[in-house]
């Protein structure tokens, strides 16, 4: 049991190509969904600004641009980490998405880990007056050990 959402899928491309498709071509494959909208105006057209420090934004129909998050790790063919904030989140709250690309046979295993509460920013923690020694890792550990007892039954998909 873990405190995160974890999804993995094998895709028919090498890791370099899979990374390129995930980032540069995200607007071609991203599927908007009524239930889970990034902004009240819908998902818009997503785009990554390449490189660490770049943004993941979405261009909305009304001409506005919404920043979903910033890229913190950009390792083509290997790993991608970016912030994830929906419009409904409070300004201080952000979650984090890590995407890994691993060669499997002549394809790639793409795995996505979406960390919700393990990524509470320092600023946010400070605002709520938490002791400084409380590291985020401890929060994560607690969730890992504790949620199973709460019968927190998250289904994990593995296609491999």
């Amino acid at each position: 049991m873990t405190s995160k959402v974890f999804i993995a899928l094998r895709v028919p491309a090498d890791p370099t190509r899979a990374f390129e498709a995930f980032t540069r071509e995200i607007s071609s494959w991203w599927r908007p969904d009524d239930l889970f909208q990034i902004t009240p105006q819908g998902d818009g057209e997503l785009a990554f600004e390449p490189g660490a420090g770049g943004r993941l934004v979405t261009h909305l129909n009304n001409g506005e641009t919404f920043e979903i998050g910033r890229v913190s790790v950009w390792e083509p063919g290997k790993r991608l980490v970016f912030g994830w904030r929906q419009a409904s989140f409070s300004p201080e709250h952000s979650t984090e998405v890590e995407v890994r690309f691993e060669p499997v046979g002549n394809g790639t295993r793409v795995s996505i880990e979406h960390r919700g509460w393990d990524a509470i920013p320092e600023r946010h923690v400070a605002r709520h007056g938490f002791p400084e020694h409380v590291t985020l890792q401890r929060v994560a550990d607690w969730w890992r050990s504790s949620l199973s007892a709460l019968r927190f039954d998250m289904k994990h998909r593995e296609s491999l």
């Binding site: 028919p12 190509r17 409070s90 793409v110 509470i120 401890r138 709460l150 927190f152 998250m154």
Partner: protein, 110 residues
């Protein structure tokens, strides 16, 4: 679920003492005094943590049926359920998007 509630739930759980309280309440409802003893916290410190847990909705307070001066604390399932549904939605989102990425890669196969 509203994101600000999710936010509050996560924030309330970001403290080790409060997580310990949740652990204890998972076994059964406890009196404030029992919680303070078990966790070795002063009364004011424990009161502060219990207030935060109440505000977040994770915990509710009741009066003891025999002694109204005594307060009993118990877990409320709603925030956990809300967290669970956020997880389920996020899980579904990425399952769908990865399937879409796979379809895209099949289409553009070189």
């Amino acid at each position: 679920m509203s994101a600000s509630n999710l936010d509050r739930t996560l924030a309330a759980l970001a403290d080790p003492y409060r997580r310990r309280v949740i652990d204890l309440l998972r076994e059964r409802p406890h009196r404030a005094g029992e919680l303070g003893q078990a966790i070795r916290l002063s009364f004011p410190a424990m009161s502060r943590h219990l207030r935060t847990l109440r505000t977040s909705g994770l915990v509710e307070e009741d009066r003891d049926e025999f002694d109204s001066r005594v307060r009993i604390y118990r877990l409320r399932p709603e925030p956990i359920t809300a967290l669970k549904s956020w997880l389920a939605e996020t899980d579904a989102l990425w399952a769908r998007q990865l399937a879409a990425l796979k379809a895209h890669l099949q289409k553009t196969r070189r």
